[in-house]
Subunit: 341 residues, 2 copies
């Protein structure tokens, strides 16, 4: 086991120096056709591939991208991760993904571990970096990491030297509201998750603003707080919703999972969607097409998002030349959970 053949073995058998083999592998300089051929044959014969770790050590580039995601069970992060993994592979990079389960101590442990592996960049998606009041210990670690490794946030990021690329959450709320208003809805509720992440807050803030701006009739009971970004929370939220004195004609869920839960619970209680009430979601993950009815949801172009993140991650110029806050545009995908009133 672990009897890896090396560039030396190839060189010896071909009767050339290791340097020549390396040159053939990297294609840096010309080598004579005769030797090239001889070496290539041996490479094929042994299925030889250079040790990427050793290479990384000399060229000080690992061609690894680290990712720290808050919850790899959440369809949103799955979409993001899958898109990044794709795009990175296309560009010749491998992806190291670690899942923090939104746990502060894991965030620190995993970032530490991730850094040891010398990725060329680390993309932090979700978690405390997006908090209104970030954890000082985490921030301190981040800024130390930033000294040696390019750091990118998949959200807005308050740290200098750490470009943030975020979904345009304000626009997403606008779009959802416009869509509903376009269908004639004026009484709209929102089942939201209130962890003080920036994105979340933005959605909530914009929701209230629009209610104001458009002078929509509104009742505080239509603004329902739930603990998590999952289906159970959606069900809980829907349960609370049904206790309202008066029902809104449409309800927004914080994300697809929450909205899926809402649909589930409403259905369970005999409330028909979209006949009795319209429901809309955010993120447009694969969840939106398996709910019943299928969920209208605010969408993002995950490939574009991934591509923006990687552009920033792999950008080699001075860090200040990178825009520090970019937004990913949003659009809406209509399915069957909203109706005209």
């Amino acid at each position: 086991m672990k009897k890896n053949i090396t560039i030396y073995d190839i060189a010896k058998e071909a009767g050339v120096s290791p340097a020549t083999v390396s040159r053939i592998l990297t294609g840096a300089t010309a080598v004579s056709p005769a030797k090239r051929e001889r070496v290539m044959e041996l490479i094929e014969k042994y299925h030889f591939r250079p040790n990427a770790l050793a290479r990384a050590l000399t060229v000080t580039q690992s061609h690894l991208i680290g990712m720290l995601v808050a919850d790899s069970g959440n369809p949103y992060y799955i979409s993001v991760f899958t898109a990044i993994e794709n795009e990175a592979f296309k560009r010749g990079y491998a992806t190291l993904m670690m899942n923090t389960h939104s746990t502060p101590s894991f965030e620190i442990a995993m970032l530490t571990k991730l850094r040891e592996l010398q990725p060329d960049a680390i993309i932090v998606c979700g978690g405390r970096i997006d908090l209104e009041q970030p954890d000082p210990a985490f921030i301190s670690l981040l800024s130390s990491v930033r000294e040696s490794t390019r750091l990118i946030a998949g959200s807005r990021c308050p740290m200098p030297g750490v470009p943030g690329i975020a979904i345009d959450h304000r626009a997403s709320m606008e779009l959802a509201m416009k869509h509903l208003m376009g269908l004639g809805h004026r009484e709209i509720g929102f089942i939201y998750t209130g962890i003080p992440y920036y994105g979340t807050q933005q959605r909530l803030a914009r929701f209230r603003e629009i209610i104001q701006e458009r002078q929509l009739p509104f009742r505080e009971e239509w603004l329902i707080h739930v603990p998590a970004y999952d289906a159970a929370s959606g069900r809980l939220g829907a349960e609370k919703l049904l206790q309202c004195q008066r029902l809104p004609s449409a309800i927004l869920g914080m994300n697809d999972m929450v909205s899926a839960g809402i649909l589930r619970e409403l259905n369970h209680r005999g409330v028909k969607v979209p006949e009795d009430i319209s429901v809309i979601g955010f993120d447009d993950t694969f969840v939106s097409s398996i709910t019943s009815p299928e969920l209208t949801s605010v969408s993002y172009d995950y490939q574009l998002f991934a591509s923006m993140l990687l552009d920033a991650a792999l950008y080699t110029g001075p860090i200040d030349a990178l825009p520090s806050d970019q937004l990913v545009p949003v659009f809406i995908t209509e399915r069957n959970s909203c109706r005209r009133v």
Copy 2:
């Protein structure tokens, strides 16, 4: 940028040799308390962490686990990957995941790339390794990889020297059928995906066997073939189902996504589940709790699965001492998609 501090920098500033710093880091030998303290302080001060790549090079152990999965958008693989990532982290390993999109050329390219990164083991989940007739080019690459890297299949594996750990697909079908029969069903259909993966075939084979053994009334039209493991295929399958001369009283979907599609389509066509027909799924991913009605599904203990895979991956003894085919036990999680008849 990339001004990484090294063990040398620490050593110089502490007035000791690099070897001493290394010994403190690894805890291999005793070093005098005075020096230890001095060095530790500097390590804290600079947030120093040793370069894992360099370390891997000398100890010929990367503490990396490679994973090749067939489709990272499929909830089953997400569950598997998440479980492995978790368990690996607990054991001090990082995970490199690559997604082949079930594309043969990607399988080869990604396995090649993965191997370059010198993971201590590679776990191959799904894809051509599980085919009845595996692709010779892929097999040849696999057996070359096996020379230097421990290789584990997350399915049954026909290759010698590659232990396979698989869900017990035969038992899963048995369980699903027993459950339905226990509820009084005798007319049972199966919407299955017919790609000739071993697992798939096992489920189908067992299905037919049970029909025989139990002398269940059966019509060929109840065995419906669909192209993929997704919700669209489920809908397609349900559509075909409704064209049957006579409907079965229960229907199995190939996995949760297919079953979710079935539920969707039946609902759409006004067929009530479970009143008119019972539906059951496989894999018990998070999908089964967001469908309506919630889906009864055959479950696996993903943590156990991950743990078995890692035990095999990290096992350092002779390869022949490893059992070559282990099965992951299955159980059933009841929800609301089946009823007594």
